[in-house]
């Protein structure tokens, strides 16, 4: 059996890579993670003539000197896995910077097929590119394309096919770095020949990389046990650095761009600069006065859309699982199995799937914002405010979305490249008060703060924001020392997003949630079902269950706050989902159909809480773990149990601390 033919898609961000990936593979694709990290790996395949070709969509990358995790993955794949061909997608309207990566790919010895995408935009800009000549210079096929219209896809498939079928090694263009430096490169190459462990890499590329001082390349060489090589490279670096009076890495970057200039001098006729539609939009969307209000309006609309349009679908899921549960209750007679199936398993599945409508819609909207280019503007507009608390512009959108639901909000942090900034954003996100916590506030504010409900509830939201800011600052100080990484963000031109790619994106995120976080949530719900049903068995009084035992057991901890064991149990239930807190109280006081507006429930609460302890309770509900689903998604997004447990622990501790402060200060001020 022959090995599968592998082709990688590489290119700068915002060049329409995903669109071309979708065009090539159609629906035959699946999404996973790259091993060890939470960066998406998309693989698909297509067959052309007699060849079955597997396509890997690499994360967008500007250069083969990695700057982020995404970029390291892209580079490692090209260098280590050595795909049979690398399709380098180049934005023709931005060819100057895009060719920088092309040159590096050629240098690394990849079998490059250049897909010159967005030819229509280049044409609009008045640019004329001599495709044939470019192909001659690069000694690689160049296929002009308009990805979103599907133009050039057939030709690209042909070119890939030809490339993998009739591969000719080492025929690609090679660029020189000046006679002096070339001597150094050649001497390193000769030295390298004595290192069999480095045989799989193209020697010239590796020599250039260690001359550039690339940390990972140096690591590769030293792992291969060729320390002489590193010493020699160091000596050469010093020698040339003195001679050229600049860093080697600067020299190489300059040379490559010089080379790009030379190529473009032959193949490109530049257009006259036009006042583009993109410029017109930007003038208003990042306007001094209107920029921020427009951003807030956009976010508000995204928010309303996501959480209002999801309602019928969530209700349908709810009804469906309710119906399924009823069927199980009717058809299974053994009470233990009946409860396990109806309440445990079906209930657990329901509580996972109920999040899907929100996740689908949110990622549909986010994908529209990203593909249209607006997300970069949003980050641009909000960057300064977020930088003050040790984050960056892209952290703002997930924080805002947290007010709706923390689960998709945490998933939305994937747009943040820097790992530290992303972790901080994930860790403080649960402090944004999600919509499920509102019923608890309404119940307690309605019972204890009549006439001031609005202000009391608003103070909860404010407290959440304040704590998030403080925690972000604290996390920066203690765990993630240093400043946010410098901002180096491309502002792509505005483009019309397509329904197709947003829909695919939405589908991927949804299935990712099901696969990754779904199992954790499901397991959690089944465990809680067990604890609240046994040892008494189904139908027994909840006060005899393990949950009640846990509640009584932890109650002394809450005694200083003035809460009884019922309050403690409700908090245990609230671990699953906040809306259950209200229902749990209904069960305790034997009030059927209790909701947050129920007056009988409110009067019962007067026996258990004082205004101070009620306010402290509300604060506790705000801060301690939002729900099992959030924990599940923190695990799947950080990829680490350590940070997940840390998140749970810090939120519990903070919740207790804040509640205690409220109680103490409340008593000192003379409130009961």
């Amino acid at each position: 059996m022959k090995e599968t033919t592998k082709v990688a898609l590489a290119g700068n961000p915002n060049v329409g890579k995903t669109v071309i990936f979708n065009e090539l593979t159609g629906s035959k694709q699946h999404v996973g993670n790259w091993p060890g990290v939470t960066v998406e790996k998309k693989v698909g395949n297509f067959s052309h003539k007699d060849e079955e070709i597997e396509v890997v969509d690499l994360p967008g990358t500007y250069s083969l000197s990695p700057y982020s995790i995404d970029e390291r993955i892209a580079r490692d794949y090209i260098i280590e896995e050595k795909p049979d061909a690398v399709v380098n997608i180049v934005d023709a309207s931005n060819i100057e910077r895009n060719l920088y990566l092309t040159l590096q790919l050629l240098e690394a010895g990849a079998n490059v097929v250049v897909a010159l995408n967005m030819m229509d935009e280049a044409q609009k800009k008045g640019m004329k590119i001599d495709v044939k000549k470019l192909s001659e210079i690069l000694k690689a096929p160049v296929i002009p394309m308009v990805g979103i219209k599907g133009e050039g896809v057939k030709e690209l498939k042909n070119a890939i096919y030809e490339e993998v079928k009739h591969r000719r090694e080492h025929r690609h263009m090679s660029m020189g770095y000046g006679r002096e430096l070339e001597k150094g490169i050649i001497s390193l190459e000769e030295e390298m020949a004595r290192c069999p462990a480095l045989k799989k890499y193209r020697h010239r590329w590796l020599a250039i990389k260690i001359l550039e001082g690339d940390a990972e390349a140096i690591k590769k060489v030293s792992e291969a046990g060729c320390d002489d090589l590193i010493k020699e490279a160091k000596r050469l670096r010093k020698q040339f650095g003195r001679k050229l009076d600049e860093d080697m890495e600067t020299y190489f970057a300059d040379k490559r761009y010089e080379f790009v200039d030379d190529i473009l001098g032959v193949v490109l006729i530049k257009g006259k600069k036009l006042w583009s539609f993109s410029d017109m939009l930007d003038k208003v969307l990042t306007h001094k006065v209107f920029g921020i209000p427009i951003f807030l309006a956009m976010m508000w609309a995204a928010f309303q859309f996501t959480f209002s349009v999801a309602v019928p679908f969530m209700d349908a899921i709810d009804l469906f699982f309710g119906w399924l549960g009823d069927i199980a209750r009717v058809s299974i007679t053994n009470p233990a199995i009946q409860s396990l199936v109806a309440d445990g398993i079906i209930g657990g599945l329901g509580s996972v799937l109920i999040f899907l409508p929100n996740i689908f819609l949110l990622f549909f909207v986010l994908s529209l914002m990203e593909d249209s280019g607006y997300l970069a503007r949003a980050a641009f507009v909000m960057d300064k405010a977020m930088y003050r608390i040790g984050l960056q512009g892209k952290s703002f959108v997930p924080m805002l979305l947290g007010f709706g639901c923390n689960v998709p909000a945490i998933m939305a942090t994937r747009t943040i490249e820097d790992r530290k900034e992303r972790l901080i954003t994930i860790l403080v996100n649960p402090l944004m008060s999600c919509s499920a916590r509102l019923p608890v506030y309404i119940l307690f504010a309605g019972a204890f703060f009549i006439g001031a409900e609005g202000s009391v509830i608003f103070s909860m939201y404010l407290m959440g924001i304040l704590l998030a800011v403080l925690m972000a600052l604290l996390l920066r100080k203690v765990f993630f020392k240093g400043k946010p990484s410098p901002l180096i963000m491309e502002m792509p031109p505005y483009r019309m997003p397509t329904f197709k790619s947003s829909a695919i994106h939405m589908w991927e995120k949804g299935s990712m949630f099901l696969k990754k976080a779904g199992s954790i949530i499901f397991l959690g719900v089944v465990i809680i079902w067990f604890l609240s049903t046994y040892p008494g068995g189904p139908g027994s009084d909840i006060e005899t269950s393990y949950v009640a035992a846990i509640g009584r057991w932890v109650q002394p901890i809450f005694a200083p706050l003035g809460w009884d064991w019922k309050a403690a149990i409700a908090l245990v239930f609230g671990f699953v989902a906040k809306e259950i807190v209200v229902g749990a109280y209904g069960t305790f006081y034997g009030i059927s159909d209790a909701d947050e507006g129920s007056t009988s429930l409110r009067s019962e609460l007067h026996g258990a809480f004082t205004p101070v302890s009620a306010y402290a309770y509300m604060a506790f509900v705000l801060i301690y773990v939002p729900c099992l689903a959030t924990i599940g998604v923190i695990k799947s997004e950080t990829g680490s149990w350590k940070w997940t447990l840390f998140a749970v622990a810090y939120m519990m501790g903070l919740a207790y601390l804040v509640a205690l402060v409220i109680t103490v200060v409340g008593h000192l001020l003379g409130f009961a």
């Binding site: 209107f290 427009i294 209700d315």
Partner: protein, 141 residues
């Protein structure tokens, strides 16, 4: 061509003023609690704020348009896009509620407060503006 720009100026001045008026009314209705206005602006401070923003963008460069300068068109275009986003959003929410009522089996009625009628009507009134965007090539300098 330039005459057309003056027309766009007048058009955006009128619609912009209505946007601001209704946005203000919604904010006042929200702040005053029980107060209600005719033609049902919903008491919603956020929605009101957004209507005011759209209106201000429409009015901001009206002077440019009236004196037939192209720069003002940027503001007109962005207002069009925002108006469409907000209008379509309310229509979608309305559709979702209708669907929800069918699923739960409850009767559904048009609730002008929840669906922000002014935002929908103004979006429709601005629709002719899209014809201008479609011919945007004409505006390239």
């Amino acid at each position: 061509m330039s005459e057309k720009i003056r027309l766009i100026g007048i058009y955006s001045a009128i619609i912009g003023s209505i946007y601001i008026l209704y946005g203000m009314l919604e904010i006042i209705a929200w702040a005053a609690g029980e107060l209600r206005f005719p033609l049902s602006p919903s008491p919603d401070i956020f929605a009101g704020f957004i209507l005011v923003v759209i209106g201000s963008i429409l009015l901001y460069r009206v002077r440019d348009l009236l004196s037939m300068r192209y720069e003002g068109l940027s503001f007109f275009f962005v207002a069009l896009i925002l108006s469409a986003i907000i209008g379509i959003m309310y229509l979608l929410i309305m559709g979702a509620d209708l669907l929800d009522a069918t699923i739960i089996g409850e009767p559904w009625a048009f609730d002008s407060a929840a669906y922000n009628l002014p935002a929908i009507v103004l979006f429709i009134l601005l629709l002719p503006g899209w014809l201008i965007i479609r011919k945007r090539e004409e505006f390239g300098e």
